[in-house]
């Protein structure tokens, strides 16, 4: 999917050095994101996913390599593109800085100088879209984890960004809320053409939200790139990157070892269907024989 789209994020041989001397080098493969593409970064703790997202947001300055987001180097010209980017950083609690939900969601438009009526309209729209109108007068510390995530997301989406960057958005939320959030992100992607870059540990969500998956190994090395199906069939690469493959990936890999060649399925329904079909086929074959 990525190849045919206009690339809005490009990094090449990017490196970053922490003050304590730890170095991350995002090499191995080029990292690109197309307009409207949904990209998921998978990697173990400390592999540099959050660092890469911070580099894309201009919060850190690379020590080497090239980085381009929406046509500019974010470490130099982030101001020029910030109205086109929405972000939900790790630990959403620290992202909500205004005293009330309404104030927080309206934070960016107000600070970008939008007129009061326009700001109010945008906030009301996003509150409705995320079904959180009832929270607008609440103070942040009385919100649940899921509500905080939705409020943080509303603050990021209120200005209708071209690119949405999410760092571990599924942390600290329950499965029901996670499903709801995935649906919402997909809707935003479809309706507004918003490109999404998301980092996560949650394997089960990847097929539901990703067009392209990048595997980030220790030290920032980009060890794999492909569709969720392609990535999850590389069980050994996943293990090398210290990423536990999804249970269905392991199942199909084990079946392959047993000589049963089947296309990997990413959801339980899909897997049930594939296995049932294979069983019927094999029964028919046996019957015919």
């Amino acid at each position: 999917m990525g190849e045919s789209l206009e690339e809005i994020v490009k990094i090449k041989d990017l490196g970053f050095k922490y003050p304590d001397g730890t170095t991350l080098k995002f090499d191995g493969r080029d990292f690109t994101v197309g307009r409207g593409e949904r990209v998921v970064m998978l990697g173990p703790n400390g592999s540099g996913k959050s660092t890469l997202l911070s580099l894309l947001l201009g919060l850190l300055k690379p020590s080497e390599g090239e980085i381009e987001v929406l046509g500019v180097d974010p470490s130099i010209d982030y101001e020029k593109i910030r109205e086109k980017i929405g972000a939900l950083l790790q630990n959403v609690d620290l992202q909500i800085i205004a005293p009330r939900v309404w104030d927080d969601i309206s934070f960016s438009p107000r600070n970008y100088g939008y007129k009061e009526e326009e700001t109010a309209r945008l906030v009301e729209d996003i509150l409705k879209k995320l079904e959180i109108e009832h929270l607008k007068d609440k103070v942040p510390h009385y919100l649940s984890g899921g509500e905080k995530t939705k409020v943080g997301l509303a603050g990021a989406l209120v200005i209708k960004p071209e690119l949405l960057i999410l760092d571990e958005p599924f942390e600290h939320i329950d499965p029901a809320c996670r499903t709801e959030l995935i649906k919402l992100l997909n809707r935003v992607n479809k309706e507004n053409g918003t490109a999404i870059i998301l980092s996560t540990h949650n394997m089960n969500t990847v097929p539901l939200i990703a067009d392209t998956v990048y595997l980030i190994a220790e030290g920032g090395n980009i060890a794999g790139k492909g569709t969720p199906k392609e990535i999850f069939s590389q069980v050994e690469t996943l293990s090398k990157c210290h990423i536990e493959p999804p249970i269905l990936g392991e199942l199909f890999s084990a079946l392959k070892k047993q000589g049963v060649e089947m296309d990997i399925s990413l959801t339980v329904d899909e897997a049930a269907c594939t296995i049932a079909n294979a069983m019927v086929l094999s029964k028919n074959k046996t019957g015919l024989g």
Partner: protein
């Protein structure tokens, strides 16, 4: 100083004072404090104190808790009272009652008004750095309180705070504060990042809620005006000072009747938003 409890009352109460605008309650508190400053009558000050307790009773919030919170300055006032001691209990009582009444007026304001609304109301008179600092202090406070809670629990569970080992406790407690400081500064770095990413240009708050003035505002202002009026009249006209005892009697009667009513209707301590 139970910050979380006060914040909870302010955000979850549903009394007539919760329904009044922040500005009306600030004016009410200002009038009460002005009365306290100009008045030196023990009886009148006691009447003011009873009237304020009556208001707390009307809010249906936990009265004892609120009165206790507001009693803190009494400790300092007692030192002033001891230093001014002339053998007259009433003059010592005046000092303590001034501190108690002023503090209770402020506490009534803050247990019925969420801080951001108070900040929004005083916004125009503050420099930008202080205005923004107040809002981020409020936000940081609850993030740090949660961290502190976890920290104290962690220290307790791991034997860091043990009964009888005071020196070790102080050392561990200090390390905890040190850790809180380090974590706090990390959080401030994160806030800086968020402000950057979200395009901060000096406006954290959206200017507060748009509240309408109503009967609740009128009630708060009327009570404030009555208290101030009584203090001013007695201050201006010495002959009327003999009436301060009657004012005290009336305020006490209202307090008793209000308490009986609230207990009778079984609404004591119960007025929370769903």
């Amino acid at each position: 100083m139970d910050v979380s409890v006060i914040d909870y009352y302010a955000n979850h109460g549903s009394s007539f004072l919760h329904g009044a605008r922040a500005l009306s309650k600030i004016i009410f508190a200002g009038l009460v404090i002005a009365s306290v400053v100009i008045s030196n009558s023990f009886y009148l000050l006691l009447a003011v104190y009873f009237s304020l307790i009556t208001m707390v009773v009307w809010t249906r919030l936990p009265v004892l808790k609120i009165v206790t919170i507001a009693a803190y300055p009494a400790i300092f006032a007692l030192i002033f009272a001891a230093a001014s001691w002339n053998g007259n209990w009433l003059s010592a009582g005046v000092i303590v009652l001034k501190a108690l009444s002023a503090a209770l007026a402020m506490v009534i304001l803050i247990v019925t008004t969420p801080y951001p609304d108070v900040f929004s109301s005083i916004d125009p008179v503050l420099p930008r750095i202080i205005r923004e600092g107040l809002l981020l202090t409020y936000r940081s406070l609850f993030v740090l309180l949660e961290l502190t809670d976890n920290l104290v629990k962690g220290l307790r569970v791991r034997g860091g705070l043990t009964h009888g080992r005071y020196i070790k406790n102080v050392v561990n407690f200090s390390s905890g504060i040190g850790l809180l400081l380090v974590r706090g500064l990390d959080i401030s770095e994160k806030f800086y990042g968020v402000l950057n990413v979200r395009g901060y240009s000096g406006r954290i708050s959206g200017g507060g809620r748009h509240e309408k003035t109503g009967v609740n505002d009128f009630t708060a202002l009327l009570i404030g005006a009555l208290i101030f009026g009584a203090a001013l009249v007695i201050k201006m006209n010495g002959e009327l000072s003999a009436y301060d005892r009657y004012i005290l009697a009336v305020s006490l009667a209202v307090l008793v009747l209000s308490t009986v009513y609230v207990i009778h209707t079984n609404t004591w301590g119960r007025a929370w938003k769903k």
